[in-house]
Amino acid sequence: MRLSVLNGRVVDPASGLDRQADVHIADGHIVAIGRAPAGFEAERALRADGLVVAPGLVDLAARLREPGFEYKATLESEMGAALAGGVTSLACPPDTDPPLDEPGLVEMLKYRARGLDQARLYPLGALTVGLAGEKITEMAELAEAGCVGFSQAGVPIVDTQVLLRAMQYARTFGFTVWLRPEDPHLARGGIAHAGEVAARLGLAGIPVVAETVALHTILELVRLTGCRVHLCRLSSAAGLELVRRAKAEGLPVSADAAVHHLHLVDVDIGYFDSHYRVDPPFRAVRDREAIRAALADGTLDAICSDHTPVDDDSKQLPFAEAEPGCTALELLLPLTLKWAHETRTALPAALARITCGSSAVLGLGDEAGHLRTGSRADLCVFDPEQHWTVTRESLLSQGRHTPYLGMELDGRVRMTLVDGRVVFER
């Protein structure tokens, strides 16, 4: 199949390319940007006037809820949501039921995803058996089955010796360990940022030190083991400062923040709106500003959706009882654009955080997040100006809960291509 995407604004964040051009595709790869190669005849021409043609987005955290939570979402529904959001590659954390701690489970998931023939799936294996934090998994076997890294998802390891062993073992094979820094004791029972809002609303707090104490531990273990660690969902100014210094020191760490945390703060909880119940919690304005500054100076490598479909019964509860998380695959792009607009970040630099930046964290190299001659034709074609209102009906994800319900956003995906095939059109 040969096709051409005509007259779009072609952006490749990795190379800085940003110009009006045609993109020509053959056999699933980009064969030319600009003039078509001699003898190239497109079987289909797609007009992209006024649209941005970007690499397909790469998301570092999308819960697909399979296996185990099919009543919240299925692979079909969430892979569809990914394409509707322009996401063509995604990493899924291992907090399924059972957790992804055996090669057979990973192979099954990969097999199911291949059958759907949609976005590329990069599973993260469980770092410990059952995510219980006691026994390390067969990481080498899991890697052969397709795991690209090892994670505890939202379940912290209580026993620091197990964490040390897990990092030593991962280092042996050169695997990356993904950790969300949160001290389980300091965060125990907490449901909101420990600050003025939590004090006023009578919500048990998760203090910033829960993040920084855990970061100190992790970074010390990185110094000791040399294990490469990806730090997930940073939420605080103090935490980001530790990451900044660790990077300056040359430690092999990378970091991300969830896209909602670029915008929302604890005050937005309002009158106990459980849509705002997320892990880690929305913190103070200065923390949000620190996240934005960390994206600007490269302390944060990537923005992820932290997509978590939650069913109505688990969300329509008092704030503390509601399940944390929100649907986000379809909001990753517009919320990234909103941040770029508000901070006057140039479009290529903004898109880098959800394309080549996240691809580098995953160690995918050229495999995803790039748009140049020779790269795979995974594309996200979007209208940066298109105004739309987030409603339950506007989302393909089976999870309908997001703080943005009823709000207006700019930027809507018009076409998504995987391997040079149009897999989504709106």
Partner: protein, 322 residues
Amino acid sequence: MPLRHPQLNEHGRLRHLLTIEGLPRELIHHILDTAATFVGVSDRDVKKVPLLRGKSVFNLFFENSTRTRTTFEIAAKRLSADVVNLNINTSSTSKGESLLDTIDNLVAMHADMFVVRHAESGAPFLIAQHIDATRGRGHVHVVNAGDGRHAHPTQGLLDMYTIRHFKGDFTGLTVAIVGDVLHSRVARSDIHALTTLGVPEVRVIGPHTLLPGALEQMGVRVFTDMRAGLRGVDVVIMLRLQNERMRGALLPSAQEYFKHYGLTQEKLALAAPDCIVMHPGPMNRGVEIESAVADGPQSVILDQVTFGIATRMAVMSILAQS
């Protein structure tokens, strides 16, 4: 976030009572004035007025509290309402019914008012917003009878009634709230009420383990030394200390707590000579307060109970009229 406070209707009148935070000063005084008209009712031979005749008040207690439920029940009955008591933690939720399904069912039984006690902060907001959003059957009013650590607005109002009764004016007072502020919905409601009514100095006194951070931003002065905090105060509000606080790492023992934060006659002598002593009950004698003070001449603790009935009658009658 909705722009209008969920407890007010489009005319700014009270539709639910969920929290004191954000209630206008005039509205609080209106509730206290109304309560004053009900204080006499309880002294009469026939302790009933017909304001809620034909109305059904459902006491929905998702967390047990015999005392609070009883005072609401008495208040509703003195207004001639029919009262239904439901202890829901022992019935439907254990059968797997969701909170909002329970509410939908009770709304369908044509309730007029829900008095809600729940262990989680914000639960009455969820219920009130759900009722307002579905609007299916009539307009059920929600009264928060205590939600988690968040609010206990009728307790806050009866405390204000008590202070006004004994002190007359709020604008020259120094008020100290002593004890487990971290876990106390009463403390939060009192702080909002006192600052709204113009009390120039509200103090909270307790060890750091029982004080939430960022408390100063609620407009209070924080003391950890009880003697310093009590100096010259006109009102002391003691908070109940639950025994379970001794089990974790918050406090070492009841004895040490009493030594530093228990109200004794000796410590009370540091306050203004006409200082009144309040407590929301039930008291732990010898833990947060000694009997000589609880039963002493400055104690108004039993007056609070009496005024509590009148205040709850006032809240229910105002809601029924909105």
